[in-house]
Symmetry: C2
Subunit: 330 residues, 2 copies
């Protein structure tokens, strides 16, 4: 089979690409070819089959149909402008997050008009499609009322994914990712960045800034869990999804205080003392409109799995990103 | 003030235009100018101020900005391809119902970049944005999972309306209309046509076809109520809407059997005997995915009002469309 990953240069994209290359199969079918696409040229990787890397911008005319010309059987799409940038730049956010995704869907539809073509499409949405009202626990049948342009764009793409799938244009599945923590590497422009940095930086002996109160509660999964969601979404039978083609992924509902306490248990007081409180009203306001917890039974029944404690999330980070080296205890 | 009505040649558009011309004011502000636009030239009407009629297609490049160039203060937008046609013609449905609406919203945004401009935008959505799961009574916080491309297009426009309003680009309000019964005039391509024709035709002594069972339950309001919703939406304070910018309008939950019984009480057995049962599986299947009833307390608290019995709906039709002439009793 031929797999196309759009957004392959990002953190999740790289992890997913490596996992697929290592597995060599999806649902028992051998992977013969992988196309890794992103706005910048993604890194190549060791892989027994054909591999190609492409720099492309889905929102440019012709870009989507060029990607689809080789008719990949499985398409992962998570290229997006992040929330902060989509809020700051209205036109860019709609162009990339909405028009780019729609161009991809249209390219698949037009390819299918020539001769039959119905790939599996795995689309990543986000829990920030929810916004108002915000019950403490949100189910898959709760209304989608995003409080950001990013959330709006993701919500619109969920609707398109469902309609294109209903019409048999492709076999789509959307997964609403929890906030990913601990993101490795450098901070990006997302307002959620501190949810990772207050753990990531202290684990390597560096200072981190906490811009909100320890009472802030949110919904989390590790990068390893996110990679697992994507792999599972590529393999499951979509027949039972009905019109609810997008599913909120399981995660862990935790407060910032829970995060810090888990850090203390894993890495000691020396680590938690590296967290500097620096309240930021702008970030606090954005975060206040974010959900705190979900009823993810539907996803769990479909076999999606996430961590169940923040200590586990921290240990996953130490294994996957720090070569299993625990920091020195204080 | 200057009012723009897009979709002015349609049934609701004509009623609304005449009502506005007769009232002469909105929220106490005199109407100085009215622009009536549609895909065909709308009828002009008697009006003390300036009036212009325009044939335009919002989905054509430049059409929306041409309409917005004169900076109307209040914009009603309900031009759309109906559900059956949007399902049959994928491209036309998305082009008119999604791209046309988005072009209008973008034209307003771009006009506002030149100098401040924040019109009130009243958008008509539909209860067919709901589809799965379908509880017997649906609230404004229930998930939107349309089972048609038309419903998908309306749901997407609701999301855009909310985001553009949140960003202060315009002051939007969306109203989800119940199925309108009794629609005057000739049937259109909507699958819901029989909900009107089984009453309308017998009231003038003509035969009508009933393609579904009498047990089918649905949600209704009269054209007069719909006109009232639009006028009220133009006048209310939108400050309390928050991010839930689109509101399900009040209506009457009734079965086809209730409709027929009301017809019998108003017009006698001679009328009901003109209804010919002719089951149509295609229509029955479409209708089976439609909602049956709503919790419209939010709309009622905002002052929106509909009929409370089908006899009332039939009497409204006789007053407004048949010059108050009751049919001869059998």
């Amino acid at each position: 089979m031929h797999i196309l990953i759009i957004g392959a240069a990002g953190m999740i994209g790289r992890k997913l690409s490596r996992a697929l290359a290592a597995a060599g199969t999806v649902n028992g079918r051998p992977i013969r070819r992988m196309t890794l696409a992103d706005i910048i040229v993604p890194e190549a990787l060791d892989f027994g089959g054909d591999i190609e890397t492409v720099a492309t911008d889905l929102s440019r005319p012709g870009a989507a149909s060029a990607l689809i010309a080789s008719r990949p059987d499985l398409i992962f799409h998570f290229a997006a402008i992040v929330s902060g940038e989509a809020e700051a730049d209205f036109e860019k956010g709609y162009s990339v997050n909405l028009d780019g995704t729609r161009a991809l869907f249209e390219a698949i539809r037009l390819a299918g008009l020539e001769r039959p073509y119905t790939p599996r499409v795995v689309f990543t949405s986000s829990i920030v499609v929810f916004g108002e009202p915000l019950p403490p626990v949100i189910s898959d049948t709760h209304c989608v009322t995003p409080l950001t342009s990013y959330g709006t764009q993701k919500a619109i793409c969920e609707l398109l994914l469902a309609d294109y799938s209903r019409r048999g244009i492709f076999d789509g599945i959307g997964i609403r990712l929890p906030t990913i923590s601990i993101r490795p590497g450098k901070p990006n422009k997302a307002a959620s960045g501190f949810f990772s940095s207050i753990l990531r930086e202290p684990l390597i002996g560096e200072e981190a800034v906490l811009p909100v109160s320890e009472n802030v509660r949110h919904w989390f999964a590790s990068p390893r869990a996110a990679k697992g969601f994507l792999l599972h979404a590529a393999e499951i039978d979509t027949g039972s999804l009905g019109q609810l083609r997008t599913i909120t992924m399981p995660g862990l509902s935790a407060t910032v205080g829970d995060q810090i306490e888990a850090l203390r248990r894993v890495a000691g007081d020396a680590a938690t003392q590296l967290i500097r409180r620096e309240p930021n009203e702008t970030i606090a306001n954005i975060i206040s409109g974010w959900p705190q917890g979900f009823d993810a039974r539907r996803a769990e029944a479909l076999g999606f799995r996430a961590e169940t404690s923040f200590e586990e999330i921290i240990r996953v980070h130490i294994e996957d990103e720090l070569e299993s080296r625990l920091p020195e205890r204080a």
